[in-house]
């Protein structure tokens, strides 16, 4: 591990002052410490933000507010979250392990790096880690990689589960910098790789995620998060779908859908949502609508199975969320 200065400020202002190019904020450490050990991340200053007052889970002016330093396990178990936004709780509980969920913060979860093995191996080329060095995944082992939002530079998936639920629920992130706060929809927080896969989000240098704000959607109580993976627990998604359905007399009034494991960022399925609105909630309708989920998909040599797996995951998630099984 490369050497670094360590600081543990107790105010956000001090933390922002300590930030500089090449510094990193440390919360739960489950990504940062791991990647520092692998020399994938080599900050020369680590700013421990765990002492900052970025905590709290509360309903306020029609939205659920989650402080960036709340831990995954605490958010998953919070009675307000389980009552109003069950898909958030579900997505969190299907992530990582009990120990990791006790450590990892919500802000850190959104900032976690891809699990692409080439990214994590400093002896490999990787456009995300070393811009311009190439992408061995495009022609190498790419079974776990993305089929949506990829470019000729990168096909790495975004690894977060809860970000998929957040995107489905149109959550926003509050970003704090020296000049104040700005609020960005989480969907727009993430960038597509394009020719600059090293720039994963719109966070400025020395800017912190302060909180996540999730609008309350009364019908999102009928929601689910379905995760398909190689083993039943403690594994990243091959495909996952966050689904919420507003049904009236068996007809879909409104619907929210987003997918994980298939995109270079958490992937909102707007075209599927549009196809479903006004339709009768039966399996056939779900299957027809799911076809458009993979429009524009660019499968690689080993991950073409994700196109059919994604469509089937959507159908099953809709069946669960609509309770029409």
């Amino acid at each position: 591990m490369h050497a670094f200065d360590y600081a543990s400020p107790s105010s956000v202002a001090d933390a922002l002052k300590l930030a500089k190019p090449g510094s990193a904020f440390l919360a739960g450490g489950t990504t940062l410490v791991d990647l520092m050990k692998l020399d994938v991340m080599t900050p020369d200053r680590v700013i421990d933000v765990n002492g900052l007052p970025l905590k709290g889970i509360r309903l306020h002016t029609g939205a659920l507010h989650i402080g960036a330093l709340e831990r995954m396990g605490d958010v998953a178990a919070h009675p307000v979250v389980t009552a109003t936004h069950p898909m958030i709780s579900r997505a969190l509980l299907l992530s990582a392990s009990g120990q990791l969920r006790n450590m990892a913060s919500i802000g850190g979860n959104l900032m976690q790096r891809t699990r692409c093995d080439y990214f994590r191996d400093v002896t490999s080329a990787c456009n995300k880690r070393l811009p311009g060095s190439g992408c061995p995944a495009l022609t190498g082992i790419n079974r776990g990689h993305a089929i949506l939002g990829t470019s000729d530079s990168c096909a790495a998936t975004h690894a977060s589960d809860v970000a998929v639920a957040f995107v489905a629920l149109e959550a926003q992130v509050v970003l704090r910098n020296k000049d104040g706060d700005r609020t960005v929809p989480l969907e727009d927080f993430y960038r597509l790789p394009g020719s600059t896969p090293e720039r994963e989000n719109v966070l400025g240098p020395g800017e912190l995620i302060a909180e996540v704000v999730v609008p309350t959607l009364p019908w999102a109580r009928n929601s689910t998060y379905l995760k398909i993976r190689d083993r039943q627990s403690y594994e990243f998604a091959l495909t996952s779908v966050a689904a919420a359905v507003n049904l009236k007399r068996g007809v879909i009034q409104d619907v929210r859908l987003a997918a994980g494991g298939v995109g270079t960022k958490p992937w909102r399925l707007r075209q599927v949502e549009e196809a479903l609105k006004g339709s009768v909630a039966v399996e056939r309708t779900f299957a027809d609508a799911a076809e458009s989920a993979v429009d524009g998909a660019r499968p690689l040599a080993h991950n073409a199975f994700k196109t059919s797996l994604l469509k089937r995951t959507i159908v099953r998630a809709l069946l669960d969320a609509a309770g029409v099984r």
Binding site: A3, S8, T30, V46, D48, S97
Partner: protein
């Protein structure tokens, strides 16, 4: 004179402690190290109820601090990457991975390791249950399994076999002692359901 397995490992640990003594030198290099390099960090926290104070390189994990500085070798280094659970300890009463926790972040915290859960000579009920059900083979993952299980036994929402398996999924056992680990946890939770 015969040497027991435990005595042998005790001697082996003394040898590895000799190797570990190199680490302050490494820290000194880091302290004087490259531009932007790190100095030592003073950190005070409790381990198994005892106040400990360390002057450490901020790169040192809790796992290495426990094993190499505090001679608490019951906590094991499996993958050292947050994937196997062998290094599980409690920090402020929550189970966490000591290999992904920087010791410098622990100012004022309370750490509990496998050495701290028995009541004197009286084993913790989870330790007793692991012995009763033979919940291990080689034993390398066992301290982590037990530290996880101690917290799972306290969780009222974890009741069924499947819920216990899911809650324990962050602790890998290469010997495959899972069925007996499950039985041990069921006993510690208090009887059949």
């Amino acid at each position: 004179m015969t040497t027991s397995r435990r005595q042998f490992f005790g001697q082996a640990a003394a040898v590895s402690a000799g190797v570990a003594m190199a680490s302050p030198a490494v820290e000194a290099i880091a302290a004087a190290g490259p531009p932007g390099g790190a100095g030592l960090v003073e950190v005070a926290f409790k381990v198994n109820g005892e106040r400990r104070k360390l002057s450490i390189d901020p790169r040192v994990t809790l796992l290495d601090a426990l094993r190499e500085r505090l001679q608490l070798t019951g906590t094991k280094k499996g993958c050292d990457r947050g994937q196997c659970g062998a290094c599980t300890v409690h920090v402020d009463d929550r189970r966490v991975l000591s290999c992904l926790t920087l010791a410098a972040t622990l100012q004022g915290k309370e750490v509990t390791t496998i050495e701290g859960i028995a009541d004197g000579d009286e084993l913790h009920p989870v330790q007793r249950a692991f012995i009763d059900h033979d919940g291990f083979q080689c034993g390398f993952c066992t301290s982590g399994q037990i530290m996880s299980a101690v917290k799972i036994v306290e969780e009222p929402a974890v009741r069924t076999d499947d819920q216990i398996r899911e809650a324990m999924s962050g602790n890998i056992c290469r010997c495959g002692a899972y069925p007996n680990i499950l039985e041990a946890i069921k006993q510690a939770k208090g009887g059949e359901r």
